[in-house]
Amino acid sequence: MRFFATPRELRERGVLGMNQRNADYIMRYNPRRLYPLVDNKLETKKLALESGIAVPELYGVVAIEHQVQEMASILADHQALVIKPAHGSGGNGILVIDSRMGKFFRKANGSLLSIEAIQHHTSNILSGMYSLGGLPDKAILEYRVDFDPMFERISYQGVPDIRIIVFKGIPAAAMTRLPTSDSDGKANLHQGAVGLGINIATGETTNAVHHNHLVDQHPDTGYATSGIVIPHWDNILRLAIQCADTVGLGYLGVDIVIDRKLGPLMLELNARPGLTIQLANGQGLLSKLQKIEAHPHLPTEMDARIEFAKGLQKPADSNYSS
């Protein structure tokens, strides 16, 4: 295998680069005034609740340092929960507590935390350690998703999620992100999660990427990464489209988790979704985005949009013509 690709080869495959993503899509289709809606997860949650979009239940908000001491009461009410910064980015600062063990709290990776450690983490969130620009922040305490059993076999701890890029109301690309041992249970590709491309037409996983390298099995579980059928696929697409319509951003990353009982839930939105999704799919984004941009009459009906999105996806096999 070669050490690099030529610009021409990438262009032929419709790969979207960081510069072009910023200039031609994010700057063009995402008005800056809408950013607070997605950058502040509390706002996103509020907006979603108003519009009837399914989200994990909010247990509480820690807004000022003083409340950190009172967290114990919220913690006492729930066996499992997630603590995350309202303005976090890239999954940073998210603490997932799976269960209790006496006085201690057990993290997704099995390690134990004291209540002081949790309070310190919350203080860090409040002081802005994880927020964009280091501004003071709030900590959100919410329902820990009890993820769908189908992921149990292939994933390693943490919460696997599904990232869908919705462009002008049409789902353009999708992948699922599985935490690994080196991602510390986080579904963040930069931190070492595995990304599995999803064929939008079928809801079936295709390629997989780990640390920007193509893989065909989960590094921890060894489970084959292709051919997994994502449950509730059409509902997931529907949820993603609903989110895009509600928040009004033209180029949006929607992160969705599948709960065992509650089905697909929107976890968060991202106004600057990353580009690794292309590697996970073995397919460039640019060609699809351009097709959507060039289309004179994009469908507005929900079902028509899903059909349109599915039609955009090349038949899965054609990606692998060797």
């Binding site: 295998m1 200039a23 600062g93 802005g128 390629n207 692998y320």
Partner: protein, 509 residues
Amino acid sequence: MNTVTARVWALALILLGLAITAYKAYELGLPITPEQNTDVWTVQAQVSFEGKGKPAKLSLFIPENTPGFMLLDEYFISSRYGLTIAKTHENRRADWAIRRARGMQTLYYRISVARSNLKVDWKTKPDFPDPPDYPEPYASAIKAIIDDVREESADVESYTLELLKQLNSSAPDENVELIRHKATSSGQWTNEIINVLKGVRIPARIIWGIDITDSANNISLRPLLQVHNGDNWLTFNPETGREGIPADFLVWKVGDKSVSALNSGNDLDVKFSVTRTYAELIDVARQGAAKRESFFFEFSLLSLPVQNQITYQLLLMLPLGALLVVFLRTIIGLKTFGTFMPILIAMAFRETQLFWGIIMFSMIVSIGLMIRFYLEKLFLLLIPRLASVLVIVVILMLLISLITNQLGIERLLSISLFPMVILAMTIERMSITWEENGAREAILQGIGSLFVACIGYVVMVNENLMYLIFVFPELLLVVLGLCLWMGGYTGYRLTELVRFKGMLGTETK
């Protein structure tokens, strides 16, 4: 559309910047590279006289308009004398005065000049002289010559040339012979020619100057002839007829008045000497700037006080550093901690030199990181922890300075400029990246930052660039234009060619 507008702006700014630079370089003669040495000549006029113990006034003509040379500096060495400088429309005159001058008095005037291709001209416009009444037998001789020359000339220039040719002919006729006998020195000879030119109402004058070819003592002024053609003063050698001011000729004064005058005293003597020194062109340009009359020079950084110039020399390198960051991040795709942090580090490297700078940076950051990891365990709030890291950075720098001082390494003493806050922030960000994205990512970004800082250092200590941007600050427009241009670059970053090489995987497998 927006990209196109940005590109148009970029192009316009780049062209404007380059045009002004080219104008200054080629029209005004500013050198575009700094290290060319240039000859600087120091010409000294030594004036001496014997005082009579009475009040004395001494005057000395000093250079004003010096075509082919620029005046860099001048000094008057005349300890107890009062000095005033009188300016007439063609000349400058130094007037010294003293209440009691007893015994041998010596005063000096020194001027430094360097060659320059700046155009300098006399703006004076003379009146047409009335034809004088020449006494016989000169009247008829001059008339004969005048008529003779007129036959073979078309304008003032060709008339003067022809006249000089005839007057200096190696086989002179009796008319020329007659005039030649009157003149015993080249000064008198020039005045005779001027006298003849009056007969045809051509304004003419004598200028005096010095040949500057090599270091020499006891040089005397020599005259040249100038005639006015209605627009300009044309210069001729009165003995050879050669036109133009010779390249080595430094004009000292205009007119026939004696170069120095004394109202009371004996043995007035003026001696000229020339010494040759070298100076870097930037210094020449700097010193010459104040003396030139150009819009671009009056608003030039070269006209600022020297200590401010040094500040600006540093300041002006920052945009270059920023341009470099834009390039390395947008086109190459390097990752760094903070956008312009590497450039500030690079500025600090200027003080410490690269090698010690890198050692310093690595030492402080790694020790700082270790301490920061310990602080993590103390569960401190963000701001107090940041402040603690800052204090630790300062203590580390202090220790390093003290230790290296003991070891006799002076380089690291000059780290006062090392941006401590930036280092503290770097440590903080690095430790967070370390914790969240792993050691690999943190070290990679750390090395990326250091790498950008190194390149930034190499760019920012480049003497040529420093000189260029300082003397031609309009190049900042070019820098701005390039930034705008790259702002519209939507192509792949170089690192993306590696990142997305997996896109080819399905076919090459």
